[in-house]
């Protein structure tokens, strides 16, 4: 992923208008009140990395669409929170990480796992509750872990992963191993005590953690303006004396740039950063969500004007990547997801004795 160092400003995409939600005006990307992280050291991604971004985003999109279908067929049960529409956040941030950096997430995490390089066969098998799944069929949709790729899991309690990320940061500093952590959480988690307690300690001890709040404008079905005294989340780093920056979360390059700068800052020992990824989910909160809290027009507006895959296509076009190359990637991705579905359909169920495995070590 070594990229030639250029000034980020030269490769920053033209800022696109962001569709304005009926419920919030806080959607246009702008720097937080506490000063954006300096962009001087940011390296724009190479063409190869940008192609990989597109591939991973296309993989997530296709994977999630097919997971949604499988849910409808009853092959996936429990809750299933799809990431469609937010692919640029996870992919942009994940590709800014070094292989040894940690990422951790809430429960909309299949996308983040795939963004980090997890095997779609094993992610899908986990959704299917099968033994080759990442948690041997015992985690399901909300608990995908791929520790080999330093993807430290999906967690089902809103905000509960934020102290864990802070602990990874603590360990990085304790061991002085040069690693850092990117912690993803949804906008609703920012009102949890876990967030506030963690940011206080991370700032106090200058821990190498990048906190990424994915502001998709709704906590389940509640618009952010109904549940937040301050809807400009980039300003909610202020109490802790750390930078907060709003990023266009529909644009993978913007996410890559901001995450890379925040990671560099973290690794210099300057402490944590809060990134507010302003994004939108195209599907409901979960498969059980009838979406009565927002209009079809609003969803269509985002799908038409802010689809992260289309935005990425725009970047690649500037690099001379034509439709034929993208279609080839798309068909490869489709085949990969088809294979994941076939693999999961045929994968073995856990055995009865597996029920008791991994409760305690032996």
């Amino acid at each position: 992923m070594a990229a030639r160092v250029r000034k980020a400003a030269q490769t920053r995409p033209r800022e696109r208008p962001v569709a304005v939600s009926k419920t919030s005006s806080a959607v246009s990307p702008k720097s937080g009140a506490n000063g954006a992280v300096t962009s001087k050291e940011a390296a724009a991604p190479s063409k190869d990395v940008q192609l990989l971004m597109y591939r991973r985003m296309a993989l997530i999109r296709r994977f999630e669409e097919r997971a949604g279908q499988s849910y409808g067929q009853g092959k996936i049960a429990g809750f299933c929170h799809l990431y469609i529409g937010q692919e640029a956040v996870g992919v942009g941030a994940a590709l800014a990480c070094a292989a040894t950096d940690y990422t951790i997430d809430g429960y909309r995490e299949h996308g983040h796992a795939l963004a980090r390089g997890a095997d779609p066969k094993r992610v899908m098998a986990e959704l299917y509750g099968r033994k080759p799944g990442y948690a041997k069929g015992k985690g399901g949709s909300m608990h995908i872990f791929d520790v080999e790729h330093r993807f430290m899991g999906g967690y089902g309690i809103v905000g509960g992963q934020i102290p864990l990320a802070t602990g990874f940061g603590w360990a990085s500093r304790y061991k002085r191993d040069g690693t850092a952590t990117v912690c993803f959480f949804g906008d609703a988690a920012i009102n949890q005590g876990a967030y506030h307690e963690s940011l206080n300690m991370a700032s106090l001890w200058k821990l190498p953690v990048v906190y990424v709040v994915e502001n998709n404008l709704y906590g389940m079905g509640t618009p952010i303006a109904v549940s937040n005294a301050i809807t400009d989340f980039s300003k909610r780093s202020g109490d802790y004396g750390i930078p907060g920056e709003a990023v266009d979360g529909m644009d993978a390059l913007a996410m890559y740039d901001a995450t890379q700068r925040a990671l560099a800052r973290a690794k210099r020992g300057e402490g944590p950063t809060l990134l507010e990824a302003r994004c939108y989910r195209f599907r409901g909160h979960s498969m059980a969500d009838p979406q009565t809290y927002r209009t079809k027009e609003e969803v269509e507006d985002y799908r038409t004007h802010k689809d992260p895959l289309n935005i990425m296509k725009g970047h690649l076009a500037k690099l001379g990547v034509g439709d034929a190359e993208l279609e080839k990637i798309q068909s490869e991705v489709n085949a990969e997801v088809d294979e994941a579905l076939k693999f999961s359909d045929q994968a073995a169920e856990p055995e009865g004795q597996d029920l008791y495995e991994d409760v305690l070590g032996h």
Binding site: G153, L164, G167, Y174, E197, S198, G361
Partner: protein, 326 residues
Amino acid sequence: MPVIQYREALNQALREEMSRDPNIFIMGEEVGAYDGAFKVTQGLMKEFGKERVVDSPISELGFVGLGIGASMVGLRPVIEVMTWNFAILAMDQIVNNAAKVRYMSGGQLHCPIVFRGPTGAGTQLSSQHSQMLEAQYAYFPGLKVVTPGTPRDAKGLLKAALREQDPVVFMESELLYSVKGEVETGELVIPIGQAEVKRPGEHVTVVCWHRMIYPALEAATKLAQEGIEVEVVDMRTVRPLDLPTVLASVRKTNRCVVVEEAWPIASVGSSIVDAVQREAFDDLDAPVIRLNAKDVPMPYNKKLEGMYAPTADDVAAAVKKVLYIG
């Protein structure tokens, strides 16, 4: 053998294990510069430095979760909760993350971490500072819950906890910190999950743990003068429960009293009684009696506080009742 306080035994365990393993660090409220609210960590910051003995904000959910995260990536945190009363704020992290991450990740991750601090009755500290909370944690698969009553057990079990691969809830007692007992110098590791017969006897089995071993032993001494030999079984660990030791004792004495400082509903003692009646029904000569704290929050008034938990007289009366001589 040297006679030391319970708190000194814990301090020895921490010092010895920190010297052995550089991945162990201690974090908690006032554990460092103040030397610990109950002086368990006395001198450790001076000896091991601020990197390894860390004063945290009063922010239980945050630093408990931080410790769990650190344990997931290779460190061995000792997280001191000033009292387990305050850890209720951090329960989500302990029960939803530490206890379950091994299972939820299919064995990819685990949490070698020790959460420690005092639980149980205090000294007129009223309702929010005096409660016995072991059942809260014993409830959850994925945790080990240790409740040492003597200085020797405190040292040996804490050293074992610091070598565990799983999260350990280590419950001390404010009222036990100054209790003295014989403790070996240096290496002493007592396996987690093994009960100990603290006093052998043939007429009645009294099962207890934590602070309740003292009224149990006191009652046994008194009853011995009347010719009643009580076998006192100290569980030492309430998850996993060493039921074979309890059942062996009951099969010998045919009578059982369970004494716990906790409230009666959904308690650890209720699980022990359940196992005894199921596994040793034919060996019982009387129904099992269970003694508990009164089913009310702890009162402040000294007289009322004294009525709260089982006493040696309560234990003696229960023993006589299962012998049908009460």
